[in-house]
């Protein structure tokens, strides 16, 4: 089944990659066009490239502030979720406790819960705590998404670490917590890092909670902020395409740097090895 690749294959690949990337290419080409040209022609390349759309995108709405908000919320979520999940995943995979199946079942069920089913009580809770339009107000609901994901992925990574290591640590007189902190945790660092990337991306992309809870413009995150560029009367495509390019760049960098890790994290949940 594993064939060598021929010319036809590379041609297919090139077309495939082009089609997948086409929306990005077109949006980028649009973002450097003068605004008038966007509405008048379908030419691919403009003869007079300009950065005015970028200037407008950054000044008409607080795009950098949105990015800062997204960054802070996603980072806090990641630290909290991966921190708690590392303990839980370790206990589930390597300690002799009862009810592991039940616990993992609850975690899996929680990851399947539709966000719309929990949003109104969460909204009431966050409002009562006075946390609307704040970072913590978003981190709380994001735990629902990120914690089950982290436990699920981390459990696979922990399971791959050889069990002999712990046994020898035990023989050397290490306490269970010492074994976790000094032996397993360092070995699991790549897995934890991978999980952190996945959680960060998931939190960065969340829309429903961000839309409802942080309704003040200064506290909006990137996905919500971007969708607010359109008004009822006009759609500034120049601004929108420039803003899209700006917010996509960090993700492209993240993907390019960590693509192998992301793939291993994504597939760890679905493939037995």
């Amino acid at each position: 089944m594993r064939k060598r690749a021929g010319i036809g294959f590379y041609l297919f690949l090139a077309i495939f990659v082009f089609l997948v990337m086409f929306p990005f290419i077109w949006v980028f080409l649009t973002s450097v066009k003068p605004v008038g040209e966007i509405f008048t022609s379908f030419r691919w390349f403009t003869t007079s490239p300009t950065l005015s759309s970028y200037e407008a995108a950054l000044t008409n709405r607080p795009l950098l502030r949105y990015m800062l908000n997204s960054f802070v919320v996603s980072s806090l979520t990641t630290i909290l979720a991966v921190g708690c999940a590392a303990f839980a995943a370790y206990a589930v995979t390597r300690l002799p406790i009862k009810g592991k199946g039940l616990f993992l079942g609850v975690v899996l069920a929680a990851s399947m819960f539709p966000q719309i089913a929990i949003i109104s009580p969460i909204f009431n809770l966050v409002t009562e705590l006075g946390l609307r339009n704040s970072y913590i107000g978003l981190v709380i609901p994001y735990i629902t998404i990120s914690l089950p994901l982290s436990i699920w992925v981390l459990a696979t990574f922990f399971n791959k670490i050889p069990f002999e290591l712990e046994e020898s640590a035990k023989l050397d007189g290490a306490s269970p917590f010492q074994t976790f902190r000094k032996i397993i945790f360092p070995l699991a660092t790549p897995g934890i890092f991978t999980t952190a990337i996945l959680v960060f991306i998931a939190a960065w992309n969340e829309y429903l909670f961000a839309l409802t809870i942080n309704s003040d413009d200064l506290w909006r995150t990137v996905p919500v902020g971007i969708s607010m560029y359109q008004s009822e009367f006009s759609i500034p495509w120049g601004d929108i395409s420039a803003a899209t390019v700006i917010v996509t760049i960090p993700i492209v960098v993240l993907v390019l740097l960590f693509q192998k890790r992301i793939v291993s994290g994504l597939t760890s949940g679905s493939v037995k090895e």
Binding site: M1, K3, R4, F9, Y10, F12, L13, P23, F39, F42, C84, F87, A88, A91, V92, L95, I97, F103, L104, V106, L108, A110, M112, P114, Q115, A117, I118, I119, S120, I122, I140, P141, L147, P148, I151, N205, Y207, T212, V222, P223, V224, I226, S227, Y229, Q230, I240, S241, T244, V247, T248, I251, V255, Q259, I262, V263, T267, S270, V271, K272, E273
Partner: protein
């Protein structure tokens, strides 16, 4: 130095505890709460229904304030009215005072009323809802409310029939004050499953449920077939794997809302390049078809979703393919099996669990679809692309109707539970393989 040490079991439970508590607080409890909310006529934007009340309640702050004026206005009317009208006023006073005495005969309520009276005199705001609202007997509340409404109706009809203009005005004023006071007596807004009955007959609910179902089946179906085809094609050694992998990951990694904005631009009837090319290629009848017709809207959403998630599906299936040992194919080659036989007899059976797990996560994601539709079409045109999650969101937060909106959330939850149940039965214990020992 001897330190306190947990044994392995205790440590295990201690390590699980934080996660378990968080999951309960942010997921299980809210779902239960949503279900509870769905049993009430609970609206944030209506002061008589903004609390969930199993019992009847009286808004004491406004009641006490109104009662003060009722007393005064009735005295005025007694001074000016004559004959039958005077009798009506006296009867009204008797009835109202009777009910008021019954209310104040409860020592606790009486104490609250006195406290509020004092605070109102000093123009102090009453923010403590424990003080502001008091529970009362359901029957008493219904009777008192009914009595106030009746007297109000009587007074208004007297106002209509009387010739003395000034007196008519006084009766009208008191009549509307009494009607206002009857609104301070809040009957229980627990309505059981009435909200559910409403939605089972609601055309828009069935339409949105159908839209969600249609979107899920069609988009996940396309994603599976295309994803499998791509995975089979690129499951070989070739140069430039990194570029392919990155180009596949980027659509998955960008926020759905950003992707929806991008596609909104590409589909636009005037400036959209995709709409323009599709029209030129006769794939669609006209460039504006995509976002202004119901079929077009659904096509646009499914197309964008397939673009965003097929690569992800391909990636999962590719990882599954790579676990199939090559020796199986070599052996079947020796036995003279053709490519189709190999695909159906080796690849598909061995890929089954990877396919099912990928389908499980994708189906659930697709069924919960919100951002893509909310940003790209807003559920339009004419609710033709509205998913059940979008409908629930609009009911909850645009109409501020938490009771009815919760019914829709519960419906989404039950559908998702059913879908997961079916898949988990199909996949079985494989789902937990590699996680517990």
């Amino acid at each position: 130095m001897k330190k306190f040490q947990l044994n392995e079991k205790q440590l295990g439970y201690a390590m699980i505890l934080p996660s378990l508590l968080l999951v309960i607080v942010v997921t299980l409890w809210p779902v239960a709460q949503s279900f509870y909310n769905s049993l009430f006529d609970y609206r944030l934007n209506d002061p008589t229904r903004s609390q969930k009340m199993l019992n009847a309640n009286i808004d004491l702050e406004r009641y006490v304030d109104n009662y003060f004026y009722i007393d005064g206005q009735l005295s005025d009317l007694e001074g000016n009215a004559e004959g039958d009208q005077l009798e009506a006023v006296q009867q009204a006073r008797e009835a109202i005072e009777g009910y008021h005495q019954e209310l104040t005969s409860d020592a606790e309520i009486n104490a609250k009323i006195e406290q509020i009276d004092e605070m109102l005199m000093n123009f102090e705001p009453i923010s403590d809802s424990e003080l502001k609202y008091t529970k009362v007997d359901n029957d008493f509340a219904a009777d008192y409310r009914g009595a106030l409404e009746n007297i109000s109706a009587d007074f208004l009809s007297i106002a209509d029939s009387t010739d003395n203009e000034q007196l008519a005005q006084s009766f009208e004023q008191t009549g509307s004050l009494l009607a206002g006071t009857s609104d301070n007596i809040l009957e229980s807004n627990f309505i059981g499953f009435a909200n559910y009955t409403k939605y089972f007959q609601d055309q828009r609910m069935w339409q949105s449920l159908w839209n969600t179902f249609y979107f899920t089946v069609v988009s996940v179906g396309f994603e599976l077939v295309l994803g499998l085809a791509i995975a089979l094609l690129i499951n070989r050694a070739f140069k430039g794997r990194g570029i392919v992998r990155a180009s596949v990951l980027i659509p998955w990694a960008i926020p759905t809302a950003v992707a929806a904005m991008m596609w909104g631009f590409l589909y636009d009837g005037q400036t959209g390049i995709v709409a323009h090319y599709f029209e030129k290629l006769n794939i669609i009848p006209s460039a504006s078809w995509l976002l202004s017709t119901s079929d077009g809207g659904m096509f646009a959403i499914i197309f964008a979703d397939v673009w965003k998630t097929t690569p992800y599906m391909a990636l999962l299936l590719l990882a599954g393919l790579q676990t199939i040992p090559n020796s199986l194919y070599e052996a079947s080659n020796v036995d003279g099996a053709n490519k189709w036989q190999q695909f159906f007899k080796i690849t598909l059976p061995l890929l089954k669990s990877a396919i099912l797990v990928a389908l499980l996560f994708r189906t659930l994601d697709a069924f919960r679809v919100f951002d893509l539709i909310y940003v790209l079409t807003g559920g339009g045109p004419a609710n033709a692309t509205e998913s059940i999650s979008v409908y629930a969101y609009v009911t909850l937060f645009s109409q501020q109707n938490f009771g009815e909106g919760s019914v829709l959330s519960v419906i989404v939850f039950l559908c998702v539970a059913l879908i997961s149940f079916i898949y988990v039965r199909l996949i079985g214990s494989d789902l937990f393989a590699g996680r517990t020992k």
